[in-house]
Amino acid sequence: MNVEELIQRARTITEEWLWKTTTELTTPDHLSVWLSTAKDLIPIVAMLRVQRMGYLAAITGLDLGTEADEMEALYHFCTGPVTVTLRVKLPRQDPSLPSLSQIIPSAEPLERELQEMYGIRINGLRNPARLYLSDDWPQGVYPMRKDFQPGEEPVGMEVN
């Protein structure tokens, strides 16, 4: 299949099979899919798996800041030259997402990274412990959030 056919197929899967998703062709080989709720994530990922539409290449987080009061989780699926990105909007207060590890076991480290860096709770992880942050990192501080301010002294070790 060429790029256009792959994009068309991804559009069919994400737009017609699932309600209220909107898609946008950001570049000729990249399709962004906005999911209406986080509940749609598991069905749409299962459908992408069944249709053999790519592999989960990365999970990205996006903090839109305190004014927008929103966060985003982006799931990038790659098929040959085409990338399909599932985007889920989340509230900044207590965001949570279902885990994909039942469908894609290798998603677990990516989800754990998203959890510790952005504070997005992932439900259904086999091991929800920290993965990359150091052992003495303070609880409830998420370094990739917009309101995180790295000072001259490390977090939790400020000399007052």
Binding site: S134, D136, F148, P154, V155
Partner: protein, 172 residues
């Protein structure tokens, strides 16, 4: 006064310093480096630069090492390990910070998981700047450190006399 209490002390100290200056064993520790400086250290030990002509030998255990070569900024996770390695080494011990990151944190300064340079965590005796420093710079820094051992700073009991070996000249 040491000579009165313990007549062999002076001779033994001289011997010890002679041995230390002529054959320092170095331990290399990477506390978060990008491996650029580590590769330069390895290049320094190769026969082309031949650090062994100064008696310098890379040593695996901190218990046997005299000099700690540190590369990279100190990450939060590596801090405890660096301090532990420094404490395992026995006195007198010397720390050489190699590369911009080890000096100040470099490109990683201000990052959420970085403490800063090596001297934020343990005392440093010699600084070798560069990103990465050339093997000649590393040799120069280490030899400068060894030279400073022959005229020890106050507080360190390195007794020496004029008969102690002088270091060989660093090649240009």
């Amino acid at each position: 006064m040491g000579n009165i209490q313990y007549p062999w002390k002076h001779t033994l100290d001289t011997l010890r310093t002679w041995a230390r200056v002529n054959s320092p064993w170095v331990l290399h520790f990477n506390s978060g480096s990008c491996n650029g400086c580590d590769i330069e250290i390895l290049a320094t030990i190769t026969p082309r630069y031949d650090l062994e002509r100064f008696g310098i030998k890379l040593q695996g255990s901190p218990r046997h090492a005299d000099v700690l070569l540190c590369t990279g900024p100190v990450t939060r996770q590596a801090r405890e390990r660096l301090v532990r390695i420094y404490e395992i080494m026995h006195e007198p011990k010397f720390v050489v910070a190699i590369g911009s990151c080890a000096l100040s944190g470099g490109a990683f300064r201000g990052c959420y998981n970085v403490m800063g340079g090596i001297d934020k965590v343990i005392p440093v005796d010699a600084y070798i700047p560069g990103c990465p420093p050339r093997p000649e710079a590393i040799i120069n820094g280490v030899v400068a450190l060894l030279g400073s051992l022959q005229t020890p700073p106050a507080g360190q009991s390195l007794e020496l006399d004029d008969r102690s070996n002088r270091l060989p000249e660093v090649p240009a």
